[in-house]
Subunit: 282 residues, 4 copies
Amino acid sequence: MNSRPLLDRQRLYTIIFESDTPAGRRFDTALLVTILASLVVVMLDSIEGMHSQYRDLFNNLEWAFTALFALEYGLRLYCSPKPLGYAFSFFGLVDLLALLPAILALAFADAQYLLIVRVIRMIRIFRILKLRQYLSQANYLLIALRGSRQKIIVFLVSVSSLVTVFGALMYVIEGPAHGFTSIPTSIYWAVVTLTTVGFGDITPKTPLGQMVASLVMITGYSIIAVPTGIFTAELTNAMRQEGLLKHDCPHCKKHRHEANAAFCSRCGGPLFPRGLPDGKGD
Amino acid sequence: MNSRPLLDRQRLYTIIFESDTPAGRRFDTALLVTILASLVVVMLDSIEGMHSQYRDLFNNLEWAFTALFALEYGLRLYCSPKPLGYAFSFFGLVDLLALLPAILALAFADAQYLLIVRVIRMIRIFRILKLRQYLSQANYLLIALRGSRQKIIVFLVSVSSLVTVFGALMYVIEGPAHGFTSIPTSIYWAVVTLTTVGFGDITPKTPLGQMVASLVMITGYSIIAVPTGIFTAELTNAMRQEGLLKHDCPHCKKHRHEANAAFCSRCGGPLFPRGLPDGKGD
Amino acid sequence: MNSRPLLDRQRLYTIIFESDTPAGRRFDTALLVTILASLVVVMLDSIEGMHSQYRDLFNNLEWAFTALFALEYGLRLYCSPKPLGYAFSFFGLVDLLALLPAILALAFADAQYLLIVRVIRMIRIFRILKLRQYLSQANYLLIALRGSRQKIIVFLVSVSSLVTVFGALMYVIEGPAHGFTSIPTSIYWAVVTLTTVGFGDITPKTPLGQMVASLVMITGYSIIAVPTGIFTAELTNAMRQEGLLKHDCPHCKKHRHEANAAFCSRCGGPLFPRGLPDGKGD
Amino acid sequence: MNSRPLLDRQRLYTIIFESDTPAGRRFDTALLVTILASLVVVMLDSIEGMHSQYRDLFNNLEWAFTALFALEYGLRLYCSPKPLGYAFSFFGLVDLLALLPAILALAFADAQYLLIVRVIRMIRIFRILKLRQYLSQANYLLIALRGSRQKIIVFLVSVSSLVTVFGALMYVIEGPAHGFTSIPTSIYWAVVTLTTVGFGDITPKTPLGQMVASLVMITGYSIIAVPTGIFTAELTNAMRQEGLLKHDCPHCKKHRHEANAAFCSRCGGPLFPRGLPDGKGD
């Protein structure tokens, strides 16, 4: 408030960390565009024809983007009131992770390794998710997901058991001659089939194998109802919470009641005066 | 009412724009059949054997249909009380769009371009959707879609991030040798797999790749529950409010009542002041 | 009641048309087994190796089954109190349809035609559906389906428009060289892709085609929520009907009320005497 | 309590059958790890390269695991208060089933047979499912499944009829020349297509076949809504009743109340006779 540098820090903080001011919104938009551009460069660089022709250009661009993101990371540390708090927050760690691969690439020039580096860089795309107005909606989905977590795990364990048993069964029935070369491969086939993906790289050839495969498919087709049912029921539940009657009981002040309650379930008193037809109503 | 041409315009308007009179219904049916016929001609023309044999016939038919639709567009402009209002309405623009390609084809005789022209013509099929009795049902679906729009966008952004990360990961694991020729191609593979389509044109060959692919498939199989849950919850909500009387009880403010309710089911008070037979009733 | 033949008819009716008596149950079980056996014979006969070896055996068996079903059809007509009523009922027509192909095969010995004959015979499997105890559950599903019929049609029309537009678009983008040989074939591809089936017999090869295909897949993956949402909402609705309070209003005798109604919505009188704590309660 | 062996038995029982004590928990964890290890050995042994190199090692390991599980089975019989009760319980039979294949392998040295043996061993994975805290959630799913059982059977019978009719139809339309070699194979194709798996090993080639296939796909895409709707409606029902107080109001018979309700929200009467502080309260 009094010294210049402190004011700068505050203004920087508002611009970089918040998006309520025009400057803050402009900064966030520019950052998103830059991240997208760096992603496009990584993608184009992975195309053989592009890579051989524009190798140097892509290399320079990737370094330029890395420099920009490093500068941004430094500024965030500088203007944050609690630099350590930011550095160890979720977004702080993601921001750092987006820089590390490029630094590691200095020491290890192996091309193969560089590829992995690009993949980890991909996580930058999550920074695009800083969409204020959608956070409350995302929150809804998270509540429903958290509520259905245990049921989802039971479901996933059942599915894992199913694909293991079906995979081993198909290995015995069809065998290596028809593409089911090992139990792990057969389990992979069972996952492909149960989830109704159906690549078709491995397919049953014997009548018995096709019967078991039909069973796997109908099972997969039917039990997709389970995660859907779980999630829908949880989400309906989360959305119904608003359906409770919020009205202070005039006698005991209990605040939430069943949707159509006429009497308080705690003190038994009527929640509303009876609107008699011969009275002044209201 | 007094001059002939004005009466003609009115009658034309009733026939062309409305479908309550027998003539209007006949016009709409004829229009739908004509559009369908023009679609069939475009489709047949795209079949190699047909094209080489009946080239001229198809060409003439396409011109005949274009002339008919141009005439119809002119009549609509002529008989509309507000021609500009129609021209810039949704259906007005669609009607114009159905004509433009043929006109453009006059200047640019390039066959390749003509093909694109036919595609844009396809949008005519939406004119078939003018089904009066189903509009209220379509409206229902639109309300549910509008209510779930934000949640759907959060979902689509998450799916996009997932396929990008999984695509890059598979590019590194499998590499160009196994068909994952670039990151964009690998992202395409991830979309094919996550949505449980599973073409099988690109498939993982390494054990690690098959494990990651299994993860992608089970993820796709499980998260299909999310859009389904969102839409179902919204639609259930939209339908629960149907047929209910929306009127604040003057005594207890209960908002929704049975369709024919005279008294509030919570406080017993009359919902509406009594219209006495000897009073001003009504 | 008095003459023998009439009694026989009644007994036959009970055995053939009903399944409440032990004899009736035994007849129905035998019939189902016979139909299944005839189906198995048709299926085995369609396998090349089987057909060449056991041609005569299968032929004789098929004739034996046809004779049996003809006898059964005759008995049904004989013992039915209203033979015409049975003959034109749904099951009567299905029973006749199961005989016709074999009779037609007498006149037209063409093998190709015989194949079609076997297909129509397949409809016999629906006779297996005479499962008493499940009919009420099937009824539930039918109510939900009928309630959602209009919404389903709106959905199917939208899907048809989508696959037409996407099909034509892919035809222009990929063209005959990449397997999209005509607009109808491309529409077939769009159906395969939008419904997440994904045979992989036709796949996009160009980057732009893969982008549009990704869009089709994500669309198909998302809008599967629509029929599911519609049907779930209708079924939840159908099942909630039971949730209404069935209790005669002591004042006006109105029978159905909102689930938690305390007062009658028609006459405003309390539905239940107030259970005062100082009273005799109950 | 007095003799040593009895005490040992009790302690053993607590360790082996229960998981409330630290020792019991350690035993269960060790058991799960051992089962997983034995599964991994079976899987690795099925990979051709591994099998030829480490044949003896895998053989010995499998025998060691079998010995361990036999010892465990003996101990369970020994320490169980009712050995026969355990032996014929679900888990007792599964434990025995995990031993039998290895014993059978002694008499029949046929390698082919041994493969089947390994498959039956797979069922051991279900022992991993002894997850205490998730059982109540699994129970929820089971209640919903039991409630929807009849509707699911109606659905499965309808689907079976559909694939039979569609399969026979495609056999006639496409015929053996296009891969639809017999009616059973065509039914297999119909299952692959209706469940939206779509391997692509058999695909329609004729325009009519592609039209029927499109119909099968859109049917499969739409009716997936049915099991999902059934299960969701049942689960929502099961979850709505959770946490509610089930107790008939002594005055108006309202059945479900808020978890902590003292008075009925419909008639205001006390749900339970008042336990007066000066009375016998409780």
